[in-house]
């Protein structure tokens, strides 16, 4: 018995050492990849805290010898986006003024649409939903020209309401999809019970479906906010000096050809522009990922 079990123990301990080594390798690999993803953020942050002099002489990845927030101040309120030199601040608020109403309106409409498509099926509802869904996937280049003309005709070209309008229209497909996919999982009997109880379309939505919707509202709001905040194409196409969103302003600061190239200001501005969505991601990452996967894999 004993001599039989001996070699067995040996192989077991051998494979155990192998397993531990593999485990280490695994964690090292994961750590290296984590460094890869964190490196640009780290470089942005350290660069934004260095003086121009230090940037020119020091290494990309060295920590700042002397931490200075001057670049941040300049990025926020002094950097030039072309001829104006007011920093990102006004454009940051433009983005807020665009994103908040656009997110709210498109989410509310998406909730109502999703509620109709999922719970109040009528003939043709599926076709309507499919048409809306296909609309999510068009390259927006194909609507840029007519939209520019339409905004002009409506007299809201180059205005913030114009951008809100555009974001609501092209966000509808996704918000409807999100709510529809959430509401189809709610048994149709619930609607039936409420109808027998005497509640109508809006009452059922308000008293029964909306109170159930917190998770999907969070997902949708985060998705829409990220999309709209990070948008560049609509921003650059449909805004004019003074109404540009923060992404457009950031690009203008970085590519501004006047004066000395202030890399530290560029990096501070980039972080400021990225901060709101990054914050949302850190605070509500779970919902952010759910939105991403729901937006790509239907169902």
């Amino acid at each position: 018995m004993t001599d039989l079990s001996m070699p067995q123990t040996q192989t077991r301990s051998q494979s155990a050492t192998g397993k531990i080594a593999l485990r280490w390798l695994l964690y090292i690999l994961l750590g290296l990849f984590a460094l890869y993803y964190l490196m640009p953020l780290f470089v942005m942050l350290t660069t934004s805290l260095k003086s121009l002099e230090e940037i020119r002489t020091g290494s990309l990845i060295s920590l700042p010898r002397e931490v200075s927030f001057d670049a941040w101040k300049t990025a926020w309120s002094g950097a030039c986006t072309g001829i104006q030199c007011e920093g990102l601040r006004p454009y940051f608020w433009n983005s807020v003024l665009i994103a908040v109403p656009a997110v709210a309106i498109s989410t509310l409409l998406g909730a109502l649409n999703g509620y109709v498509v999922a719970q109040w099926r009528f003939k043709g509802a599926n076709i309507i939903f499919s048409l809306m869904l296909f609309g999510c996937f068009i390259p927006f280049q194909v609507v840029l020209l007519p939209m520019a003309r339409l905004l002009g005709m409506m007299g809201i070209a180059g205005t913030i309401p114009g951008l809100i309008f555009v974001h609501v229209i092209y966000g509808l497909g996704f918000t409807t999809l999100f709510f529809r996919n959430y509401y189809v999982t709610i048994p149709a009997e619930l609607t039936k019970a409420a109808r027998v109880d005497g509640a109508g379309f809006l009452r059922i939505f308000w008293s029964i479906f909306l109170p159930l919707s917190l998770p999907i509202v969070v997902v949708t709001v985060i998705w829409q906010f990220t999309q709209i905040w990070n948008d560049f194409l609509f921003g650059v196409s449909f805004s004019q000096a003074g109404t540009q969103p923060v992404t457009v302003a950031l690009n203008n600061i970085v590519n501004s050809t006047t004066g000395v190239k202030e890399y530290n200001v560029d990096m501070a501005a980039a972080i400021i522009a990225g901060l709101p969505t990054l914050l949302v991601y850190v605070v509500a990452g779970k919902y952010f990922i759910r939105g991403l996967t729901a937006g790509s894999v239907k169902g």
């Binding site: 109502l112 229209i169 949302v280 850190v282």
Partner: protein
């Protein structure tokens, strides 16, 4: 009246959105298609002249570059992001203790604007002050890394930044796929004594075919629409070495005043997207309705 309203309220509620989509998606596509068949320059003209805009497009060396770049960018971006995403997903699937934190780190670039990503990578890849000078500073004075300003290589810098931005997302997709594989099948395979790597290659990965398809569709869609990243990272340059169809369209529409070219290039982009997305969505919707 109120009876009628009560009965038709669902349709009434859906109608504005539906009409908006009809006009602003399908109507606008129609408008663009129409204009792509005219001689429109700075202002749209509505007299149909046939396919001359498309002929001009395909004769244009700049469009040629844009399409070639799309091939290079699309192929590399999709392939590498998928492989990297799958690798990361499998690594993370090994009951890692700090999985949540690592996942958060891998995925955060997806929350950033492409403009932010482009700005960061533009700095990192800056030949005078970025990686090149850093490696030179480590004692390799002959190290050269000027892809960002080299017309032959600049497109690869866009690939690099795009992968950094999106691979974490592919990982999240694959990780969800790995987790959804029936645990009993895996247990059965383990009981049969099949080694872990074989379980992955023979059982888990083949069963994730739909996820591969989804990831491919999403990445292809991202690649074709890529615009912001190019603008922020290279501005389409040097010259127009890193032009993609999206930047070509934008340049024609808003700086060159050539609406006909803008419309025809946009139509080509849409056809490419639809060739990829429509069959996918169609099969998804059918599967849902059955």
């Amino acid at each position: 009246m109120s009876e009628w309203l009560e009965n038709h309220l669902p349709k009434v509620v859906l109608a504005p959105s539906f009409i908006a989509v009809l006009i602003f998606v399908y109507g606008f596509i129609g408008w663009t298609a129409w204009v792509s068949l005219t001689r429109s320059k700075l202002l749209p003209k509505y007299e149909i002249k046939g396919f001359m805009q498309y002929e001009r497009l395909f004769d244009s060396p700049r469009w040629d570059t844009a399409i070639n770049n799309l091939y290079i960018f699309g192929a590399l971006f999709i392939a590498i992001a998928m492989v990297l995403g799958l690798l990361l997903a499998i690594l993370l699937d090994q009951k890692i203790r700090v999985e949540g934190a690592i996942r958060t780190i891998y995925l955060y670039p997806m929350a950033l604007s492409m403009i932010v990503t482009g700005t960061a990578w533009k700095w990192i890849l800056n030949p005078g002050l970025g990686i090149e000078s850093m490696v030179q500073g480590w004692g390799f004075p002959n190290f050269e890394f000027d892809w960002l300003v080299n017309p032959d290589y600049a497109i690869y810098t866009i690939v690099m930044a795009a992968i950094w931005q999106s691979s974490g997302f592919v990982m999240a997709l694959f990780l969800a796929g790995l987790r959804s594989v029936d645990g009993e099948i895996i247990k059965a395979a383990q009981v049969d004594g099949i080694p872990t790597w074989r379980i992955y290659t023979a059982i888990i990965i083949p069963s994730m075919a739909p996820i591969f398809l989804s990831a491919f569709i999403v990445l292809a869609h991202l690649a074709i629409k890529s615009f912001d990243l190019v603008i922020a990272l290279t501005g389409g340059g040097p010259g127009y070495a890193t032009d993609l169809p999206a930047t070509y369209m934008y340049a024609m529409a808003f700086s060159r005043g050539d609406i006909g070219q803008a419309a025809s290039s946009a139509m080509i982009m849409m056809l490419v997207v639809f060739a990829i997305v429509v069959p996918y969505l169609y099969s998804e919707l059918r599967a849902k309705n059955d």
